[in-house]
């Protein structure tokens, strides 16, 4: 398992809490896919996470030209996207 950064852990806590997941935030490998075979999140979860992110970090998640799958590919991908765009 690769090293989890403090911000990745913060986001992992948000995901586990928002989605009522049956895992501890520490146990999410930042490189594991969030969808499909990984954490098994689905498109409804994407919406819930997007709403929480926009509330907490002050910007709207949008996939622009890339697709959602890239931003939500893993905890690490999502974290780096938020770090680039957050306003608070």
């Amino acid at each position: 398992m690769s090293q989890t950064t403090a911000f990745e852990l913060e986001l992992a806590e948000l995901i586990v809490d928002e989605l009522n997941l049956e895992i501890t935030p520490e146990s999410i490998d930042p490189d594991t896919p969030l969808f499909g075979g990984g954490l098994e999140l689905d498109s409804i979860d994407v919406l819930e996470i997007a709403l929480a992110v926009s509330k907490i970090y002050g910007f709207k998640l949008s996939s622009d030209d890339a697709d959602n799958e890239r931003i939500f590919a893993s905890l690490r991908a999502l974290t780096s996207h938020i770090e680039k765009h957050r306003t608070r």
Partner: protein
């Protein structure tokens, strides 16, 4: 009987789809479908997993041309795929992504060489089986429902007439729902194909992506979506006014309050479809204006001995509804609630009793119960569960459930408890479960605090 065309009312140079602002013509669609039809493996069924809506349409057209039946998977869970492979063994898979089930011969989309140019739009007998949709497998394996080409075409024509469309309407249609779901198939595939419309090839989920997808197509524009996406658009403060001519919502109930906010956000009427995988759409209403539903064209509803059946119009087999219904007029009604213990998540149904039975069968679980936490916290309608499981762990229980259940029904959260709050006669009330859940959550947080 006259054959029914793959694309109705269209000229070959009409636009049938948009992908990120790029038009795709009817001629291109026909050519791609004809080419793909020649390269499909000689299998009876085509499991169409394409996420790109245009590629899905090409796959459906190719299957029709090659007289194959398109399978629309009920979910992506391993359990669903296992059951489909068992019951529909003579199948191949068409996919435009890597997430494909193992052990099934797969055709990559786009695929196929150029076909000789077709002079005319292909047409098919109304009775030709076009697609098989599945209802959820929580009460056993997924149940297949065959849709003939005629019923899909007639349903789309009736829906367009209900929306007041004419052959000159030329609607652009974007959707947040997959083409593989019955509502998505009806509104984002059959509706544009039959009404000289154009489908957005994408599947935008987030509010800004929805706006971008809609705005990249010419007016008049329609959005086919769900209450969850509408809620996201409303809470995100996005402004869709001026972008949309109409919105249709389905898959879960749209309450009047959200419907009114959504109409403000979208600047247009928000209609709701009541229907199910077995029948397709049954009735429509403008949810902001009241609770009464109007039956779709030629659909009849009969209530006898407390059970309500729908028949007629595009509905091929009379079907008994799981909802309690009160007629409000010859073609209008109100819903009074569920006649059974069915729950619905992401457009999929499951029986609470069947979920409970499955949970109690997990090795190490001595008692257990699923329930649906109430609003406002539980917007998605996902179930949670309690288990008395001295002999196992939450992770092991979830792993066991995952083998048989669609992932949307996996409990969130699963609480492990010493005993269920049963009354003297063994019953469990929702109030007791919610109180227990609150105390468990409070305990979880105080544990976390003391651990810090």
């Amino acid at each position: 009987m006259r054959n029914l065309p793959l694309i109705g009312m269209h000229a070959t140079d009409d636009v049938v789809a948009w992908r990120r602002g790029e038009p795709i013509s009817a001629a291109e669609l026909i050519e791609a479908a004809a080419a793909l039809a020649t390269t499909l493996p000689s299998r009876r069924y085509v499991l169409n997993l394409c996420r790109d809506r245009y590629r899905f349409i090409v796959g459906l057209g190719a299957a029709m041309i090659a007289r194959r039946v398109t399978l629309l998977p009920p979910g992506h869970g391993d359990a669903a795929m296992r059951d489909i492979r068992r019951d529909f063994g003579d199948l191949c898979c068409l996919a435009d992504h890597e997430d494909i089930p193992a052990g099934i011969e797969t055709v990559r989309a786009p695929a196929g060489t150029r076909a000789p140019a077709l002079r005319e739009i292909p047409a098919f007998p109304g009775e030709q089986p076009a697609a098989i949709v599945f209802t959820s497998g929580s009460t056993g394996p997924p149940t297949p429902h065959v849709k003939s080409w005629g019923s899909l075409v007639h349903g789309a024509l009736a829906l367009g007439r209900h929306l007041g469309w004419t052959p000159t309407s030329r609607p652009s249609i974007a959707g947040t729902v997959p083409a593989q779901h019955m509502f998505g198939l009806e509104t984002t595939v059959m509706l544009p194909l039959q009404w000289r419309g154009a489908a957005d090839a994408g599947r935008p989920l987030l509010p800004y992506d929805i706006k971008a997808a809609v705005d990249a197509t010419p007016a008049p524009r329609w959005l086919m979506t769900t209450p969850l996406h509408l809620h996201a658009c409303v809470s995100d403060g996005i402004d869709l006014r001026g972008s949309l001519r109409g919105v249709i919502s389905s898959t879960m109930p749209l309450d009047a309050g959200l419907a009114r906010s959504a109409e403000e956000t979208c600047g247009c009427p928000v209609e709701e479809i009541y229907g199910c995988s077995e029948t397709g759409m049954i009735a429509m209403r403008r949810s902001a204006s009241g609770p009464t539903w109007t039956l779709c064209e030629d659909v009849r509803m009969e209530t006898q001995d407390g059970a309500t059946r729908v028949a007629g119009g595009h509905i091929e087999q009379p079907f008994a509804l799981a909802d309690l219904v009160e007629m409000a007029g010859p073609d209008s009604f109100r819903l009074l609630g569920r006649a059974s213990d069915l729950i619905k998540v992401a457009g999929k149904r499951a029986s609470l009793e069947a979920l409970n039975a499955r949970l109690r069968k997990v090795p190490g679980v001595s008692d257990g119960v699923f329930y649906v936490p109430s609003l406002p916290e539980n917007r998605t309608g996902r179930p949670a569960a309690f288990a008395v499981a001295p002999g196992t762990t939450a992770a092991a229980i979830l792993a066991a459930l995952r083998e048989d259940l669609d992932p949307v029904f996996l409990p969130r959260p699963l609480y492990l408890v010493d005993a269920l709050p049963r009354t003297a006669n063994g019953k469990i009330t929702l109030d007791e479960l919610e109180a227990l859940a609150r105390s468990m959550s409070a305990r979880r947080y105080s544990d976390e605090l003391s651990a810090r």
